[in-house]
């Protein structure tokens, strides 16, 4: 792109100057005279040559072409940068998604779909996807959960995605069993018995062994087989376990020194760190959100300096801790009607700063399991 300069010289020297330009092969594209001044337009690259002419005093009057554009840009650079940033920011905001809302009454479906969408990149504070990408994601999610999802629609409303979903309802075509007993899966003492079909062969406080029939599917009257059903019910029995656990005798306790510092934490989907460097070596923190703009979250963090101190459990404390650990572990496996009936520490020993215990636990647990039987075989 050519850039031109308008140059001003004294009109008295114009003839000499023009001859010199012709000799030096400097093209002059336009000229005019005004108040004893001679103005001419040349290429900017020729200006250096003209400056060497000793008999004239050349002065740049105006720049045109690329040079002018460059000068204008430099002159208005703050405005232009602000404008570009504004356009970029507008573009960024118009392509940003700040919320994804899944519309469905079933919480399980909502959570399932939210996780799947997140995995595919449809999440809060992310860039929006193109139509083709959305279609692809919909297809992939439907293929991923063919038995749960019937149909998905992802609709963009402003900076939000609204996801509508239709759950696939498959009729439970599980074959109804016609002849079955409820048998014991473990040894135990019967504690509770609830049944809706069949005949109970045990009563509360009976001792049963694994495999014993608890509720029979064969209904008899006077030793004569009258009907065969699929027994159903729940049988709870006291069962016993021996559980072992070990806990360290030593532990580290964090003690606050009284020193505290404040900091600001910045968090978004890509970044999570303190703005200022923390000056405390070891600390615990409390944080409070004070600003949340489009998912850009700021927290005021109070850091309390702590020092760690090694402490030792007494034997009884260690035992209590180990026992709690065992009970918590067992409790996490129990269902609503199941419970711990009794517990007893059988053995405890301390080895290398560790306490090992063995605990006997009695549980009230459901032990009934449906087992099908073949009618002919039973008759034989």
């Amino acid at each position: 792109m050519n850039s031109f300069l308008w140059i001003e010289i004294d009109a008295k020297q114009k003839s000499r100057f023009l001859l010199k330009c012709f000799k030096c092969k400097i093209p002059i594209y336009e000229t005019y005279e005004e108040k004893n001044c001679f103005f001419f337009r040349i290429l900017d690259k020729d200006y250096a040559k003209i400056k060497k002419f000793w008999f004239i005093k050349a002065k740049v009057k105006e720049e045109t072409g690329f040079l002018k554009i460059k000068k204008e840009i430099l002159h208005h650079h703050i405005f232009l940068i602000a404008l570009l940033l504004g356009i970029f920011f507008l573009f960024f905001l118009s392509h940003m998604i700040v919320d994804v809302k899944v519309v469905h009454s079933n919480k399980e479906i909502r959570e399932l779909l939210e996780a799947a969408l997140q995995e595919k990149g449809i999440k809060k504070n992310s860039l929006r996807k193109s139509y083709e990408e959305i279609e692809q994601i919909k297809k992939e999610i439907l293929n991923q959960y063919p038995s749960k999802l019937e149909w998905i629609e992802i609709e963009r409303t402003g900076m939000k995605y609204i996801v509508r979903v239709e759950e696939r309802k498959i009729e439970n075509k599980e074959e109804e069993k016609t002849s079955c007993h409820i048998v014991a899966t473990k040894d135990g003492i019967i504690k509770d018995l609830i049944y809706s079909k069949g005949v109970s062969l045990v009563k509360v406080n009976d001792v049963v062994k694994k495999g014993d029939i608890l509720i029979s599917g064969i209904i008899k009257k006077d030793e004569e087989e009258r009907n065969i059903v699929c027994a159903s019910g729940n049988v709870f029995a006291e069962v016993w376990y021996q559980v072992s656990a070990s806990v360290p005798m030593e532990y580290e306790e964090l003690i606050k020194t009284g020193k505290k510092r404040y900091n600001i934490r910045f968090q978004n989907s890509y970044y999570d760190d303190f703005i200022f460097k923390s000056r405390l070596n070891q600390y615990v923190e409390e944080k409070k959100e004070f600003l949340n703009v489009l998912g850009q979250r700021f927290f005021l963090v109070t850091q309390y300096e702590v020092r760690s101190e090694k402490k030792k459990y007494t034997e009884s404390e260690a035992l209590e801790r180990a026992l709690n650990e065992v009970l918590e572990k067992i409790n996490s496996t129990l269902s609503e009607k199941e419970e711990i009936i009794d517990k007893k520490v059988l053995k405890k020993e301390i080895n290398n700063s560790t306490m090992n215990i063995e605990v006997f636990v009695a549980l009230k647990e459901s032990i009934g399991e449906v087992q099908e039987f073949v009618k002919e075989m039973e008759n034989e």
């Binding site: 003839s15 023009l18 001859l19 093209p27 002059i28 000229t31 005279e33």
Partner: protein, 80 residues
């Protein structure tokens, strides 16, 4: 621009040409300028010198082989 010039040269390939209007004169093919004054201009072409006389001559455009002059033209001469 280069393409345009190449085409022009190809279609109108002349050693020199002189255009005269009422108050303009355009000369193509000059190799030197002997004199350049407000009342007289002497241009050197390949085979002759071209002399223009008049009043208030003003160079409007000047490149390595052509010149456009504005002014009141009174006399035109060719000197071999």
């Amino acid at each position: 621009m280069h393409l345009y010039k190449t085409m022009k040269n190809f279609l109108f390939d002349q050693e020199y040409f002189i255009d005269i209007w009422e108050d303009y004169i355009h000369v193509f093919g000059i190799i030197d300028i002997e004199l350049l004054e407000e009342y007289k201009i002497i241009l050197v072409l390949e085979k002759f010198s071209f002399i223009i006389e008049g009043l208030q001559f003003r160079v409007l455009k000047l490149t390595k082989n052509e010149i456009l002059v504005q002014g009141v033209l009174e006399k035109v001469m060719v000197k071999r």
